[in-house]
Assembly symmetry: C2
Homo-oligomer: 240 residues x 2
DNA sequence: CTCACTTGTCTAATTGTCTAGACAACTATT
DNA sequence: AATAGTTGTCTAGACAATTAGACAAGTGAG
């Protein structure tokens, strides 16, 4: 990194480490005392207290004066299966969650070399770019940016705006079915704009999925980049 | 978050947002001027400059005095295919990278209900816990914690320490082949300890994979939790 | 050259983070 | 009741982050 420091405060690093230890099962019930944690992390007790305050505000910890600090039952992440037939709405309904989608923004872009290769079109082709938000039971789970051929799917934006479902919008544009060809995954810290859109902490982490969906003839219909809120979603792949 | 602020400095959030915009292709060549960025993010110009300094130190940006700030060609992430036959060594060799593994720590734990269910053993069974580091061409890519039945694989730790490969260690313990049954993915900020182990920035993000590998009879042989450095690795799934 | 625009550098003041120490308040055990 | 161990709260100072303003220095166009 640059001059000095990494832009993350000590208390947040302590908080992240405690959270990580809980996730790994290293800490399961009672935390070490504040003094012991301070010694272990090489920070002042006040710094540990601030970390604990943050995790308490997140509902992960519970502090009992005079007794100690304890781990609350962890809220489960929503399971999101990924396979050759990945459908947001179906996934949510199977878990008794009410799915919905909201259009954030849409515009046109010209395909560059990378996008043309992915979508199997010529460089310079007009593409619909569709920014959307996926919600389950009122909780934002992910934000996606999709790219469609504007030539092949002239009405896709309106169709999505009406239905809130990409599957349904594609059906209206003549794609009876499609399947996932490839999914690439990575992760990064959330951007300020996305944190606001998904109403989450500004220090959250997103799981980024870049995928290509193809129709029954194997022709790409969309390239979709989705940013899942990592603390609300768990992607699951069942290997055949 | 709790009292106020999220423990991430303004300049880092600006840096993260710029990096995210570059990754999304929103910024491709020249950045807006420092003054414009400052206005856009609602921060002082010096704060923007610090963000740019951090990204420049990472090699992502290039600053030319009097002209502006520009995006460098992005360094590619190492591709890590995930499927029913996921093998670290084979994956790396195919990309002309020299794989190696290093034992960090090993000990015994007693399986709790969750672990017993995953591994198909009884609660209270002794398990080997193996912490290891995976490296490609000298660059740490991931840190894993594996759980094996100590009864079935008594010599697995020594075998791994010698070979640096879990596949090879399992072979020595009588598992001629194994395949992936299930992979669950999420992400979080890196812990301080892992940041040191993998010699990366303290504010990095890890992609967490929890997986179950089974032998040819379908019996679980290991539960493995891997933390991939998100800015060095891209997981790829080719849907059949 | 002149001008507008860009990045580089310096000073100063304000705010937030972290450390240090002290003491109060609560809990469980003896 | 006494004690050891825990969390809660207050003070104060050192240091880092952020803001504000000013000016230097490089670039490119007219």
């Amino acid at each position: 990194m640059s001059p000095e420091g990494d832009g993350v405060t000590r208390w947040r690093r302590v908080a992240d480490d405690i959270r990580s230890n809980i996730g790994d099962g290293i800490i399961s019930d009672a935390l070490p005392s504040e003094l012991e944690l301070a010694a272990r992390y090489g920070v002042n007790r006040h710094t540990v207290r601030r970390a604990i305050a943050a995790l308490t505000a997140d509902g992960l910890l519970r502090v009992e004066r005079g007794r100690g600090t304890f781990v609350n039952s962890k809220p489960q992440r929503i399971v999101y299966p990924i396979g050759s037939r990945t459908r947001f709405s179906e996934n949510m309904l199977k878990q008794s969650l009410e799915p919905s989608g909201r259009l954030i923004k849409s515009d046109f872009v010209l395909s560059d070399l990378v996008m043309a290769t992915l979508l199997g079109c010529r460089v310079g082709t007009r593409l619909h770019r569709l920014d959307s938000l996926s919600v389950a039971d009122g909780i934002p789970l992910s934000r996606s940016t999709s790219y469609f051929s504007a030539e092949r799917f002239p009405g896709i934006i309106d169709a999505y705006a009406e239905t809130g479902s990409i599957t349904e919008a594609l059906r209206r544009e003549g794609v009876v079915d499609y399947r996932r060809r490839e999914t690439r995954l990575t992760a990064e810290r959330i951007s300020a704009k996305d944190a606001e859109l998904m109403s989450c902490a500004a220090d959250a982490v997103v799981l980024i999925s870049k995928a290509i969906d193809v129709d029954l003839e194997g022709q790409p219909v969309q390239f979709i980049r989705t940013k899942f809120l990592a603390d609300r979603v768990e992607l699951v792949m069942l290997q055949n």
